[in-house]
């Protein structure tokens, strides 16, 4: 009887282990498949439509054509990707630092908040298309105006979300720290910054998504090289397929940057991970 029970227990344990393994595999699959499948469906539909309806490739090229032509022109594409990437990284770097500094300033000084916030908002409401010629006239055709555009487009979602995040800090947690004798700076570091993290990442994701697009966009105002210039040139040459190839590169870069935010979040917010794992188990 005791032995029987032992066998039963062993059997049960084995079953559990098997189930767990199956669960892990299933989870990995469910994480990767859906976007791949959805994308595949969209692309397949697009391919079928363009071939079946015989659409002019200058109006809407088929995905196959975009890939083939993009590959054929890969050196050109790459040559134009490098400057765009450079503008993106530098511009976003500046934006990142500036967003933190400004959000901190806004958080520490109610006067700055009242005085600067409306102007910050105003800065976002200026259509860059309209001031682009001025940027060129002021700063030339180099890296600087593009960096500025990237900074301008990515700065606001980050700063606004950071500011909202700081403001979301639990009032009682603040009081606790104050009662523990923490000064403003320390309160900021110990509660306000961690409290703002979820908002920060929400903003970061929005912001980083705009970074590459911002650079491409800035190039439209005037540049020597870059994906924006490339798109424009190909558009003028009625090479919609190559425009799409460049768009695909842009999207690829953006999605890579977007994905990186999740890695960063894992590093910066380990407690979130503990929570999620708990929920899964």
């Amino acid at each position: 009887m005791a032995e029987h029970q032992g066998q039963e227990q062993q059997e049960q344990q084995r079953r559990q282990r098997r189930q767990r393994r199956r669960k892990t595999v299933r989870r990995a699959l469910t994480a990767v498949w859906p976007p791949v499948v959805l994308l595949a469906v969209v692309i397949a539909g697009w391919q079928v439509y363009t071939s079946a309806a015989g659409v002019d490739p200058a109006t809407l090229p088929s995905p196959a054509r975009v890939v083939a032509q993009g590959w054929a022109n890969r050196t050109d594409l790459w040559d134009n990707t490098v400057p765009t990437l450079q503008e993106t990284v530098l511009g976003f770097g500046v934006s990142f630092v500036a967003a933190w500094l400004v959000a901190i300033l806004l958080d520490f000084s109610p006067a700055a908040r009242r005085g600067m916030y409306p102007l910050l908002v105003a800065s976002q409401t200026i259509p860059i298309v309209a001031v682009a010629p001025l940027l060129i006239i002021w700063f030339g055709f180099g890296l600087l105006p593009k960096m500025l555009v990237v900074t301008l487009t990515t700065f606001f979602p980050l700063a606004a979300n950071l500011a909202a995040g700081f403001a979301s800090t639990d009032r009682e947690a603040m009081r606790l720290l104050r009662s523990l004798g923490a000064g403003r700076l320390r309160i900021f570091r110990l509660v306000r910054v961690p409290s703002a993290m979820p908002y920060f990442f929400a903003g970061l994701r929005v912001s980083i998504t705009y970074a590459v697009v911002g650079a491409v966009f800035a190039e439209y105002a005037g540049a020597e090289k870059g994906l924006g210039i490339y798109m424009q040139a190909q558009k003028s040459a009625f090479r919609t397929d190559l425009v799409f190839a460049a768009v695909a590169v842009t999207a690829g870069l953006s999605i890579a940057l977007f994905g990186a935010t999740y890695l960063l979040q894992r590093l910066v917010m380990p407690w979130e991970r503990a929570l999620t794992e708990e929920d899964r188990s």
Partner: protein, 252 residues
């Protein structure tokens, strides 16, 4: 007047139209252990907020060592009624928070907090996150975070409320022991009459809202006190006195 560590004089506090404290007087000598007991909603936590400088009274004065109560005095360690552990910090980091808040370096803060984990029955949970603790464990962590500060005045708002009787007695005795050693000035809010009598030199009984001190009961038991004192007749007498005051005033 400067022979008082804590001198609360004629304090009143209202929130909008709600009068919570009225003309409250309370004095605590240096190294004295005071307990405050009173009905729910009578303003005990409010009083602590005033003493710790988190809030300002509508009327009256609160003096600590003769100086107006102020956040920056650095005299007071306050354990609020809610545990307020930070979900993004491990238990060890949470207990070290108070020291870090005072500017102690992280390493040192963690070391000092870590030393108390055994006494507080939290060993093995240093790396856990607060949501992984039981209610009582959270409360102990919050208490640890407070006492590790070793500040001259300790304000404890129901520190043992979520503990079972045995753990509670252990923690009470530990507190009595620490008090005996360091002679902090302690003000303890509690609903447990036995706890108040066991630990305090003076038990201040508050009226229902608007709260004011309606009785001050000196506990005549000698120091140091221990578990044996619970069976002393003087203990029982003090308990009855407190209970009587609470009931007498509440059910007229």
């Amino acid at each position: 007047m400067t022979d008082l560590r804590l001198d609360i004089h004629g304090v009143g506090k209202s929130f909008g139209g709600l009068e919570v404290l009225r003309d409250l007087d309370l004095a605590v000598r240096p190294g004295e252990f005071a307990a405050v007991i009173g009905p729910s909603g009578s303003g005990k936590s409010t009083l602590f907020n005033l003493v710790s400088g988190l809030d300002t009274p509508s009327t009256g004065d609160l003096l600590i060592d003769g100086e107006p109560a102020d956040l920056r005095s650095g005299q007071v360690a306050y354990m609020p009624q809610k545990d307020l552990l930070f979900p993004w910090r491990t238990v060890l980091d949470n207990t070290a928070l108070g020291l870090e808040a005072q500017g102690v370096r992280r390493r040192e803060a963690r070391r000092r907090a870590g030393e108390l984990f055994g006494v507080f029955g939290l060993d093995g949970f240093q790396g856990s996150y607060p949501f992984q603790l039981s209610g009582g464990m959270r409360q102990r962590a919050a208490l640890l975070r407070t006492v590790v500060l070793e500040r001259p005045v300790l304000l404890l708002d129901e520190p043992f409320g979520a503990l079972d009787s045995l753990t509670r007695t252990e923690m009470q005795l530990w507190l009595a022991d620490m008090w005996q050693r360091y002679r902090w000035t302690v003000v303890l809010v509690t609903h447990d009459i036995r706890e108040a009598v066991l630990l305090a030199d003076t038990v201040h009984v508050l009226s229902p809202r608007p709260g004011t001190v309606i009785e001050r009961i000196q506990v005549p038991l000698p120091r140091p006190r221990g578990i044996d004192d619970l069976t002393e007749p003087a203990f029982a007498a003090a308990e009855r006195h407190v209970l009587g005051t609470l009931q007498g005033r509440l059910i007229p």
